[in-house]
């Protein structure tokens, strides 16, 4: 079996938002819609304060609540773990958006552009009328993966078969691959470092892992 997952190393992420920009560049999502976001979170009390940057988006859950509630079967889950939306089936009820515990879904009811009523050249080229009035979210760049696989490439290893956010990361904080392959980069990272998944108590089994608090581990292994 194959299950594609993403790994975000919070000890490496610098919060540059390049992944978010790359995603918007690739998919020309409407203003206010970000399939990949990087949150800036501070916690603790002075002088013991920490700041961490947390990439978020669709977690491609193994047991996705969005899929269960979807009345139209527009939301599905592929055999490789990627949670998809069929824009032609979706009725835009947004039930999935209130069922998702990761705030990963968006809905835009009418075309919107970054600079007023007229689309920019990029927006004109990449506008997707099918996305209007329906639910949308990160796809793990499923088309890139499928295209890469068809060409014999390996997702997570070969750039042309890997999500654009991972390719664009300047700090090597984002990783992608098949968790069922013990030799994949994500499997090796997860086998080596401390990690967590968000909201695991809700039973969604997200396919998005966070590496965190590994500085001590790395230091001791050095």
């Amino acid at each position: 079996m194959t299950r594609y997952v993403m790994v975000a190393d919070l000890d490496r992420c610098v919060g540059c938002q390049t992944c978010a920009a790359a995603c918007r560049q690739a998919y020309a999502t409407e203003p206010g819609v970000q399939w990949r976001k990087v949150l800036d979170f501070e916690f603790g009390e002075y002088p013991d304060v920490q700041r961490v940057f947390v990439p978020v988006g669709c977690q491609h859950c193994a047991d996705p609540p969005c899929m269960h509630v979807c009345p139209s079967t527009a939301t599905g889950r592929r055999d490789d773990g990627i949670v998809t939306i069929d824009y032609d089936l979706c009725i835009g009820c947004a039930y999935c958006a209130v069922a998702c515990p990761y705030q990963a879904r968006s809905k835009v009811d009418r075309p919107a552009y970054a600079h007023g009523d007229e689309p920019t050249e990029l927006e004109r080229m990449q506008s997707n009328e099918k996305r209007i009035g329906v639910s949308q979210k990160c796809t793990f760049c499923a088309e890139r993966i499928d295209d890469g696989l068809a060409r014999g490439l390996t997702p997570g290893t070969d750039v042309d078969a890997t999500p654009v956010c991972v390719n664009s990361c300047i700090a090597e904080a984002l990783h992608f691959g098949d968790i069922d392959d013990p030799e994949s980069k994500v499997s090796r990272l997860l086998a080596r470092y401390n990690q967590f998944r968000m909201h695991e108590e809700l039973g969604t089994e997200p396919g998005f892992y966070y590496l965190w608090n590994n500085r001590e581990t790395a230091r001791s292994q050095a």
């Binding site: 949150l39 979170f41 916690f43 961490v52 947390v54 978020v56 193994a62 609540p65 899929m67 269960h68 509630v69 979807c70 009345p71 139209s72 079967t73 527009a74 089936l89 979706c90 009725i91 835009g92 009820c93 947004a94 039930y95 958006a97 209130v98 069922a99 998702c100 515990p101 990761y102 705030q103 809905k107 009811d109 209007i132 009035g133 329906v134 968790i179 499997s187 997860l190 086998a191 080596r192 470092y193 401390n194 990690q195 967590f196 998944r197 968000m198 909201h199 695991e200 809700l202 969604t204 089994e205 892992y209 966070y210 590496l211 965190w212 608090n213 590994n214």
Partner: protein, 280 residues
């Protein structure tokens, strides 16, 4: 450590109205059928039930992004409570229409059960919304069910008050359902506080609680009990109590859907060791 929670902006007053009207209309159909079985109920009562349920569904239809595809709502009966709600509504309308057309009390009785099923589906729709802590609580189920039934009983009493013959048992049923709803409300409120839900949920509901306490519990109960000792004024006292029960129920559901609906937000968890990396 939770952060970044925002208010859901997908379901607005139109969705709230579906829960308000759907609960009242579905339970009105159920209580109407139950009250008159094995005879056919007055046609007006069934008609009012269908109009109320239909109004809620029409408002939701106006809210969806692709209204032309509304028939796709029937495609996922296996897991979606929204599909099941739509199926229950379709059965409710079909049975009620057939029952009236051919004067078949059994069909009206079955339509009543469909109305109850419709109410249950609405409660489960909220329960299945994992992204909103104030909705996914188990206590939302008895709350939505009990307030829907209370509203239905209240509206039934108001409609019967327009006729010469108000069933004597109806005020007793309303009294019992109002007590049941009060228990469900307190359970829900306690559950929300105990669940360490997003902070604004309990804050919003604290304001709702005072209104519910006065207009949804205390006043209706005082009026319904007073009516027992004052037969001459019973009709008026019961009618005012019924109106308060209906309006307070709508108010609570409106508040839960539109105001207490903060999303889950994000969280950092304590990391586990590398050995626990692979899912079970």
């Amino acid at each position: 450590m939770r952060f970044g929670d925002v208010h859901q902006r997908y379901w607005d007053w139109r969705a709230a109205c579906n829960f308000m009207f759907g609960g009242t209309g579905g339970s009105l159909m159920f209580l109407t059928a139950a009250a008159s079985y094995p005879e056919s109920p007055p046609g007006l009562l069934g008609l009012v039930s269908l109009i109320i349920v239909g109004a809620g569904l029409a408002l939701v239809w106006l809210e969806i992004g692709r209204p032309g595809r509304f028939l796709n709502v029937f495609l996922n009966f296996r897991t979606s409570w929204m599909t099941r709600e739509a199926v229950a509504a379709a059965i409710l309308f079909a049975l009620a229409a057939a029952g009236v057309q051919w004067r078949l009390p059994a069909f009206i009785g079955l339509a009543g059960l469909a109305g109850l099923a419709f109410l249950y589906c609405q409660a489960m729709m909220l329960r299945a919304s994992k992204g909103v802590p104030a909705w996914r609580l188990p206590a939302i189920l008895p709350l939505v069910m009990s307030t829907g039934l209370s509203e239905g009983a209240g509206l039934l009493l108001l409609l019967f008050a327009l006729t010469p013959a108000v069933p004597a048992w109806l005020s007793a049923v309303l009294l019992a359902l109002t007590v049941l709803r009060a228990w469900a409300w307190w359970s829900y409120k306690a559950g929300l506080a105990g669940a360490n839900a997003v902070r604004s949920g309990p804050q919003v509901l604290a304001g709702v609680h005072a209104t519910m306490l006065i207009f949804g519990v205390a006043l209706p109960l005082i009026l319904l009990v007073s009516a027992l000792g004052a037969p001459g004024a019973a009709l008026h006292l019961n009618s005012i109590a019924a109106a308060l029960v209906v309006l307070s129920g709508w108010y609570v559901k409106f508040a839960i859907v539109t105001r207490a609906a903060r999303l889950q937000g994000y969280a950092l968890a304590r990391p586990r060791g590398p050995a626990a990396a692979r899912p079970a």
